[in-house]
């Protein structure tokens, strides 16, 4: 599994756990809309933000808060990778 695929798998686990979703992490497609497919609202999206910071070691800045960044697992993974690249980790 590539690093990106591994990251996406971990993101799905985090999302399912923190949002109490009744699906298996592997059932979430990389491009599934979190809001449309799983009814994720702002309260749940906040839990994703906390999970990204606590479990993935990144810090989100004001400019990171756009719907495109939080649209699906692909976009969130890209966000995490860009943050990690900026940190040099």
């Amino acid at each position: 599994m590539s690093e990106t695929e591994d990251l996406k798998a971990k993101l799905k686990e985090m999302i399912v756990e923190r949002l109490f979703l009744k699906v298996n992490p592997e059932e979430i497609a990389d491009d599934d809309s979190l809001m449309q497919s799983y009814g994720v609202d702002s309260v749940q999206l906040f839990e994703v933000v906390v999970g990204l910071e606590e479990d993935f070691g990144i810090t989100l800045e004001d400019e990171d808060f756009s719907l495109e960044q939080f649209a699906n697992v692909n976009s969130i993974a890209a966000l995490v990778e860009s943050k990690r690249a900026a940190l040099g980790t």
């Binding site: 923190r18 109490f20 609202d41 309260v43 906040f46 839990e47 933000v49 756009s66």
Partner: protein
């Protein structure tokens, strides 16, 4: 029996509800509410716990800090330090009315942080019950800002335009959290919350309940608990539960209440 109460704290009328058990009481507890909108979201679980404590023989005082709920004063004119004074005053009230009973504090989120800080100056307290305490005030403010950004992002995406009042008051350093104007003075007082620094002097029985989606005790909470070296009894219990302080809908809190009561009456 539940009775509405009023008492004075530095010239401001505070209002609350006193739960008195039908049989002889075995202790008194003062509940410390969480911050701003979180108080509204978690209102029912706090009532449920108060009633469970009362059924188990505890007198419980739930009250609103100055500037909150039914109490007098203005939210914008208050700080966490003021709310600590209010909590001490509430403790004095229950102690005066039942001087022979041991007393304790219960709090949720920033209310738990208030309770923990008050317990440092009240060595006579027997119980300290903390539900998901805010360990680091700076982090709390940072995350609150992020929650605000998320809500704004979604509101704007839904075509409702910019959320009204979101930017008000920010020129003077204050921040609008869900309509609550959090002044610079309030922010400064919240930033002083650093429960992971210690050691802590509280020498009674401490229960910390982690409310999260998992059972792993998070490092900040673990570090905080390690500071309570003087506590007679100290336990951290994880409860898998949605964040009751942030949910728009009412979520069951039975497990939280049961866990807390099991520990309290042990």
């Amino acid at each position: 029996m539940e009775t509405q109460v009023e008492f004075d704290s530095e010239g401001t009328v505070l209002r609350g509800m006193l739960h008195v058990p039908e049989s002889a009481a075995q202790g008194s507890l003062v509940f410390c509410a969480p911050f701003a909108e979180e108080e509204k979201c978690s209102y029912r679980p706090m009532v449920d716990l108060a009633r469970a404590c009362c059924s188990a023989g505890f007198r419980v005082l739930r009250f609103s800090y100055r500037g909150c709920g039914d109490s007098g004063g203005e939210f914008e004119a208050s700080t966490l330090d003021d709310w600590m004074v209010d909590t001490l005053t509430a403790l004095d009230l229950v102690s005066r009315e039942a001087a022979d009973l041991a007393a304790g504090l219960m709090g949720l989120r920033l209310g738990a942080s208030v309770a923990a800080q008050v317990a440092e100056v009240r060595p006579d307290l027997r119980w300290l019950l903390l539900w998901e305490p805010v360990v680091d005030g700076e982090r709390f403010l940072s995350l609150s800002l992020k929650r605000k950004l998320l809500r704004k992002m979604i509101t704007e995406a839904e075509g409702e335009g910019k959320a009204g009042g979101q930017q008000s008051g920010e020129d003077d350093g204050s921040m609008d959290f869900d309509g609550y104007l959090v002044t610079q003075a309030m922010q400064d007082s919240v930033r002083k919350v650093k429960l992971h620094s210690g050691p802590r002097k509280f020498a009674g029985d401490l229960l910390v309940v982690q409310i999260a989606a998992h059972e792993r005790i998070v490092p900040p909470l673990q570090r905080m608990v390690e500071q309570y070296t003087a506590a007679r009894r100290c336990q951290v219990i994880p409860v898998i539960q949605q964040p009751i302080w942030a949910m728009l809908d009412l979520v069951p809190s039975d497990k939280l209440v049961e866990t807390t009561m099991s520990w309290l009456v042990e």
